[in-house]
Symmetry: C2
Subunit: 598 residues, 2 copies
Amino acid sequence: MSEYNAPLRDMQFVLNELGHLDQVSGLPDCEEMGPDLVEAILGEAGKFASGVLSPLNVSGDHEGARWNDGEVSTPVGWKKAYEQFVEGGWNALSCEPEFGGQGLPRLVSALVEEMWNGANVSFGLCPMLTRGAIEAIELRGSEHLKATYLPKMVSGEWTGSMNLTEPQAGSDLAAVRSRAEPQGDGSYRVYGQKIFITYGEHNLTDNIVHLVLARVPGAPDGVKGISLFVVPKFLVNADGSLGARNDVRCVSIEHKLGIHASPTAVLAFGDQGGATGWLVGEENRGLEYMFIMMNAARFSVGIEGIGLSERAYQRALAYARDRVQGSELGAKSRDKVAIIRHPDVRRMLLSMKSRTEAMRALACEVATAMDIAQRHADTAQRQHSQAFVDLMIPVVKGWSTENAIDIASLGVQIHGGMGFIEETGAAQHLRDARITSIYEGTTGIQAADLIGRKIARDQGQAVARVIAQMRGVEQQLDDADDVVLSHIAQTLHQGILALEKAVRFIVANYDAQVRQVSVGSVPFLELFGIVAGGWQLARAALVAQQQLSDGSDEAPFYQAKLHTARFYADHLLVRTGGLAQTLIQGGDAALAMDDECF
Amino acid sequence: MSEYNAPLRDMQFVLNELGHLDQVSGLPDCEEMGPDLVEAILGEAGKFASGVLSPLNVSGDHEGARWNDGEVSTPVGWKKAYEQFVEGGWNALSCEPEFGGQGLPRLVSALVEEMWNGANVSFGLCPMLTRGAIEAIELRGSEHLKATYLPKMVSGEWTGSMNLTEPQAGSDLAAVRSRAEPQGDGSYRVYGQKIFITYGEHNLTDNIVHLVLARVPGAPDGVKGISLFVVPKFLVNADGSLGARNDVRCVSIEHKLGIHASPTAVLAFGDQGGATGWLVGEENRGLEYMFIMMNAARFSVGIEGIGLSERAYQRALAYARDRVQGSELGAKSRDKVAIIRHPDVRRMLLSMKSRTEAMRALACEVATAMDIAQRHADTAQRQHSQAFVDLMIPVVKGWSTENAIDIASLGVQIHGGMGFIEETGAAQHLRDARITSIYEGTTGIQAADLIGRKIARDQGQAVARVIAQMRGVEQQLDDADDVVLSHIAQTLHQGILALEKAVRFIVANYDAQVRQVSVGSVPFLELFGIVAGGWQLARAALVAQQQLSDGSDEAPFYQAKLHTARFYADHLLVRTGGLAQTLIQGGDAALAMDDECF
């Protein structure tokens, strides 16, 4: 069975040759982040991913997390791997130095995160959720909350969880009913049931810090009456030691299609008199804080999609090289060949590979902008970068996860009948990937956010700046006077035109015809993702062409980058015209149908 | 949990209003097949599907088939359901009357088959495989074989299995190694291991009749040296009673992603001296016979895709009507609404619904042609219909199954987080559907067959006749002078142009550039499927428009047919230009990549 190997060369290509690391290492507090240090970090992370996490991926899926009387045990080997993870300092990688973190730029930590997810997405979810909880406390928690929880959460000694969903409140958090009553001593008593809580209960650490959405008495209805609370599994004594067990219990865990090793808990708060919690920030502003975390989490789920895609690709590629079946089409010899020789298998592999590389490059573009938005000395630069990040997060999340499902499914297909056999492992990637387009906001929610808050609201200004950058790359392709680059330029041009047309339609019609435009929101998100990915691969092709004409001694690597970009143009970018047409003319029928006639 | 209900009204629409049944009931031996009798048959089948088979779908998935020391037990309730199935005469439905069958036209039996698969695809596989074995014996078996096996296989007292695959011989049957040695008494001793044998062992019947591919001594290499044998689990005495246990054993069954209740057996033939078998037809012509069965089986797997799509749609629709979440976009009221009101949910539902209806109508078009090819008095008519059937089988198989996977995945998405929870049932449809694009020839194999044997070989003549029919429908749409029909005509026109352009490219380049063209074979299959489906839905729209202008008292039903066709045009047909572009320009990069650089 093939295992995961971190794609270090490809990652370095994105970091160093697409120019991202240069931008980031020029920022305040990032001066040390030169290529050598980053290479060393990624190398070590790669070893941990393939040596420790990857071997637990299949056994974790098979065994799954288990619930017994309120306790949840993780699969064999999980606890040890988590200890090593914490000991290695991996949990603290991207956290603030003030609380023991290493303060790595997001650009670098995003690639490390891709490795955890490629190796073992069920494992990767635990630190991902912890980081979300850390951020909320860091940003809005009182000094007391910070001092009490952050050092141990940053180190990974304790984990965090995010408690949003309730049975009646999924995508619609306005429907949250959990409540919190102030006790007059600064604490609250929290009551309610939360579902779908990732790592809401487990045996990896002594304590779990739950971040919980609930309503205080007299709070307004809807999203404006939701507050955010810290509710630890065990209360923490003044000296930092663990105190009494809090009134939060894991009632059950879910039986899921995938990510079996990641416990998805139903948590009951306050069944025995009230769980003790502390307010984060101000009352009734919980949703706002949650959205800060949520944006980070959405980006991280996009990264999950990339990691899963990379792993599905590696497995399918290994099988395609190994499996001998049929003779070569168009050749005289009847000798049997490895299936990688078959044109349709090559198509599937390149469809997986090209999209994975496009998603990674795009995510790094966004991560770089996150670092700039956080650290750049110039306010306008920070604001522009933040606007770009806000615009792109739904694309990274929605497009990378929908791709991941399709890519994992292609991975199954390349295995033929063996792909359907669980022991092969390809099916697990599909089962695991299937959640990514759902949690932290479905693709529909991402698309609604994209067309509404991110495009219509600023009349398409942020997206216009991105399109201008894309046009710049198109120009460079044209200027290069190379037959492959010109070909890529043509399809990229086709994609940019489709994107512009679609954006104009959204800006012109969103306010007056929001339902109409919304029917096409997901097709538009796909269109945007495809063009943004094409822009990134076109940049890669420019670098590759330059290297080749400079006589690089890595010619095969750069040739592959050129072919990959060209494949993407001919197989993905060509879809954009149809997607724009769907957005523009595809709303009527869906809205005209009577509900009863579906 | 929603259950399966046979879509009787939609099926009658296809049969009666799209004119298929009229064509079939005009054929010899089909005179009785009027709308009333067919309605009665479908009604009864629908009751059996929803009343007996559907309730076992989830429990069958959960329990799965179990292997114990060579014996395989099906899940609780399975044996009783199979008895009822046989008692009801359902197994004999489409078989020849000579051996006890009811000789129903394929048009009608295809819709009944859709119901079995919609209700319970794991169950439906058993009679599907039996029918394949029956056909092989009927067509090429000796009188002795026919008399010995057919009556009990037709009634369903015994089942059949198809034994093609071996570990080294999957898509490439030339690599089959099983061997058969003549014993001089008309029998052979068969040796070898077969894998992926659906219902290769089970406890539903007293006997199982295996159809097995093997090589006789001195047979030529490759596909021209394969013969077909009947190898029963129990030998049959002269009086028809069961004799000795044959030397075929079930070594294990597979642990699969889906269709858990359908046992997928590894069978060892001849470990204890040789399994006794009888040649079907002539030596070395086994692959030819197998292909007759295989074509029928491929069509049936397409039907599986349609049944699964219908069921996934029904479940998602029920959830979308039931689940209240969020308020209505664009409305003033903040009241919570069922999610079917959300534009993106409507889009997903209509994407599922429109494709399911398109696939069903297309399959019925092909089934009608099968009946004409078999029974029509006129030779030229039979030949044209057979050419159409041959052309369309890879499309029905490949397109319907790829759609089914996507449709089942959309079904999961509509359920949000609940879709990922196994108890909901939506995930099972995705797991079950995932095999359909693999077995009986992967989509890649279908696409290779389509562009090579079905299009390039006759220089596009058969496909030209289909395109002419499509153009006729386009003309009717234009002539109707109706705004919706004109809109559909425009996108259908766009699709037909893309299809023609693609066909021209294939015909012009297949011989000289087979590898190049083959990179685009699957995108071309998708393109063909989309346009063929659009042609069928355009026919439906014409009928619906006529009914509406005639003042039908089923106006909502026909309105929905119009909206569905329009939705399909704007969301599916618009993709065809991009797919043609991929075929025409997308071969270079995939072939230029060095194998080592993937």
